[in-house]
């Protein structure tokens, strides 16, 4: 192959070159962008859990309290005892575990959602400290203090230093946090120390009436695993917690989205592949049309002594260079499109069992959702795959066209003119 001749053909026949290049570029860009979009959607579904540093939330389905007075455990939670927690901690694949007590408090003057957490852990609600807006977050050893969710504080006109009441006991607000990024997962109105929450729960008559509650129980566990082990760990935790276990994993969010995910996945792959096919057809058309224009040149190659393989090498080389340039252009185009898509957002529904608000309260039955930015990124694997598929198509097109072109006979070309 003569590079100078390749360059001359590509640069001095700009219309043909642009037609071939654009065909490949659009196909490759479509393939990469659609797969990146589908992947971003999947990532978005994991976002609420990722935001709290866990990939499994474990609960045990509870029961309806005798009365909605004072502290009760939400229907979706029941006490998880110490020995169960310790068993889960030692399961293979579990990297970290955080315990929490999720509770509702029905007071005569209102209702609130509370979460007792261990502020020293890097998994679970302890990570909400990143959303601190005023005051300070909870610290190890805190008792009788709370941090308020920013929207709840605004609604109740609460500020740092104000007092609130939980289970009839005065609690002082030490900070305000914005938990909106985590959505309804691990979301509460007030965050207290795990010790306080355990004390509220184990002393609450309406908890004790329906549960065997102990002072070191939890009712919600945040578990971090290697993502690839999450399904198997989730299954093992389910076995520990029994038939009433409620496991929330990234897959749970995908299941809530259900058909949407399937559609995006299948549509993205099918349209992406169709894009590559169309790209190859466009390339074939552009190259074949170009070769028809160049029949005289190809006849000349043979006449002045180019062997068949010389012609094939030259013409296939031209097509491959065109394919390569088209792929690079497609990659760049995909980069621009995916960058633009980052400004879009997607609403991810949240499984009901993670919804903090009781369904019987106004607005509680509405589908909870979290809106997250779509983190569309070109995966190196997708980029390499699309480039490889494109290159393979380019090789097939170039060899097919070049081999046909090499059969052109000089004398026949000139006789036909």
């Amino acid at each position: 192959m003569n590079p100078a001749y390749v360059l001359a053909e590509l640069t001095r026949r700009p219309a043909r070159t642009m037609a071939g290049l654009l065909s490949v570029a659009v196909g490759v860009a479509l393939f990469i962008t659609l797969l990146a979009y589908a992947n971003a959607y999947r990532q978005a579904a994991r976002f609420p859990l990722t935001e709290i540093g866990a990939n499994i939330v474990a609960q045990r389905q509870g029961t309806v309290p005798k009365a909605f007075q004072g502290v009760v455990l939400p229907h979706s939670t029941a006490p998880i005892h110490r020995h169960e927690i310790e068993t889960i901690q030692t399961l293979p694949g579990v990297q970290a575990l955080a315990e929490a007590i999720f509770f509702w408090d029905f007071e005569h003057d209102g209702f609130l959602v509370g979460l007792g957490l261990d502020p020293s852990t890097a998994v679970g609600p302890g990570r909400l400290r990143a959303g601190l807006r005023a005051g300070r977050f909870l610290e190890a050893g805190d008792r009788g203090v709370a941090v308020a969710d920013a929207s709840y504080a605004a609604q109740k006109h609460l500020g740092v230093g104000d007092a609130v009441t939980i289970a009839g006991e005065p609690i002082r607000l030490v900070g305000i946090v914005d938990t909106s990024r985590a959505g309804p997962v691990a979301n509460a109105n007030l965050y207290v120390s795990l010790t306080d929450a355990r004390a509220f729960a184990s002393a609450a008559p309406n908890v004790r009436a329906v549960f065997d509650v102990r002072p070191d129980d939890a009712d919600i566990l945040f578990v971090r695993t290697d993502p690839s082990h999450a399904p198997s760990v989730s299954e093992q935790i389910r076995q520990v917690l029994g038939s009433k276990a409620i496991m929330t994993t990234p897959r749970s969010f995908e299941e809530v989205l259900g058909a949407t995910f399937d559609l995006i996945d299948r549509f993205g792959l099918l349209v992406g592949l169709a894009g590559v096919m169309i790209a190859m057809a466009g390339l074939l058309r552009a190259v074949a049309a170009g070769l028809w224009e160049r029949r005289r040149d190809i006849g000349l190659m043979r006449a002045v002594g180019w062997r068949r393989r010389d012609v094939v090498t030259q013409l296939a080389g031209e097509t491959l260079v065109l394919t390569g340039l088209g792929e690079l252009a497609g990659l760049a185009l995909a980069g621009v499109v995916t960058w633009g898509l980052r400004f879009s957002q997607v609403t991810i529904p949240v499984p009901w069992e993670l919804t903090p608000t009781p369904h019987f309260l106004p607005g509680g039955a509405m589908q909870a959702a979290v809106t997250v930015p779509l983190q569309v990124r070109i995966s190196p694997n997708v980029a390499v795959t699309s480039l490889a598929v494109g290159l393979l198509g380019g090789i097939l097109v170039s060899l097919w066209v070049a081999r046909r072109a090499a059969n052109i006979k000089s004398a026949e070309v000139w006789r036909s003119e």
Binding site: A4, G305, W306
Partner: protein, 219 residues
């Protein structure tokens, strides 16, 4: 002088039309031969057969004593690259390449350094008086200049034989005479044998020998 090219009983038909009928001819080294005839007389077909661009239906063609009629297309291409220079009425230059690149075109498949290829091509362009137009593409060259580039291309690998099909057919009288003078000079300087197909008696008169064709036969 020894015999360079010989055709024995060469025939060629297209469908039911006989284009060349049992032609015998021979050419000595360094000799120039004009093949004259009207359009459709079979002279261009004969040139294609002599160049191995078409296959014979019957007969044999020998080059330097070797029968080329049984060679594969790739072997014929290699043979042309080593021994034959072709010049056409329509020049057949590659429009995207400069005069220098066109002159070097037959050398592209060779394992030759680009700088050497350019040097050889420039020498040939100099030989045909076109070195100063080396960077121009065919669209920016006159007909005479384009034919000079085509001649430089035919000479680039130092052939023993040039086969020219109506080399002055697309040129005005004065330019045609210049091209003929160039052919004479090249033959005198390099000892290259020449077969010229023409219907122009003035062109034919410049050759050492003339043969005439009609209805596919030598008359």
């Amino acid at each position: 002088m020894s015999e360079l090219l010989k055709a024995e009983g060469v025939s060629k038909s297209f469908a039911r039309v006989v284009a060349v009928r049992e032609v015998d001819l021979h050419l000595e080294e360094g000799e120039s031969l004009a093949i004259v005839g009207r359009s459709g007389s079979g002279k261009s077909t004969l040139l294609n057969l002599l160049a191995g661009l078409d296959s014979v239906d019957a007969g044999h063609i020998f080059y330097g004593g070797q029968d080329i009629t049984g060679m594969s297309e790739d072997d014929l291409a290699l043979w042309r690259r080593q021994h034959i220079g072709l010049v056409f009425q329509a020049f057949h230059l590659i429009p995207t390449l400069s005069a220098l690149e066109n002159a070097a075109f037959p050398l592209y498949p060779d394992r030759m350094r680009a700088v050497d290829r350019r040097r050889v091509a420039l020498e040939r362009l100099t030989q045909v008086g076109l070195a100063q137009r080396a960077s121009h593409r065919p669209a920016h060259l006159s007909g005479g200049e384009q034919q000079r580039v085509a001649i430089a291309r035919a000479l680039v690998h130092r052939p023993s034989l040039i086969l020219a099909d109506e080399p002055t057919g697309n040129l005005d009288t004065q330019t045609g005479e210049e091209i003929l003078a160039l052919f004479r000079r090249l033959r005198d300087e390099n000892g290259i044998a020449l077969v010229v197909i023409t219907h122009d008696e003035k062109v034919a008169a410049a050759a050492d020998r003339i043969i005439r064709m009609a209805d596919g036969r030598i008359i």
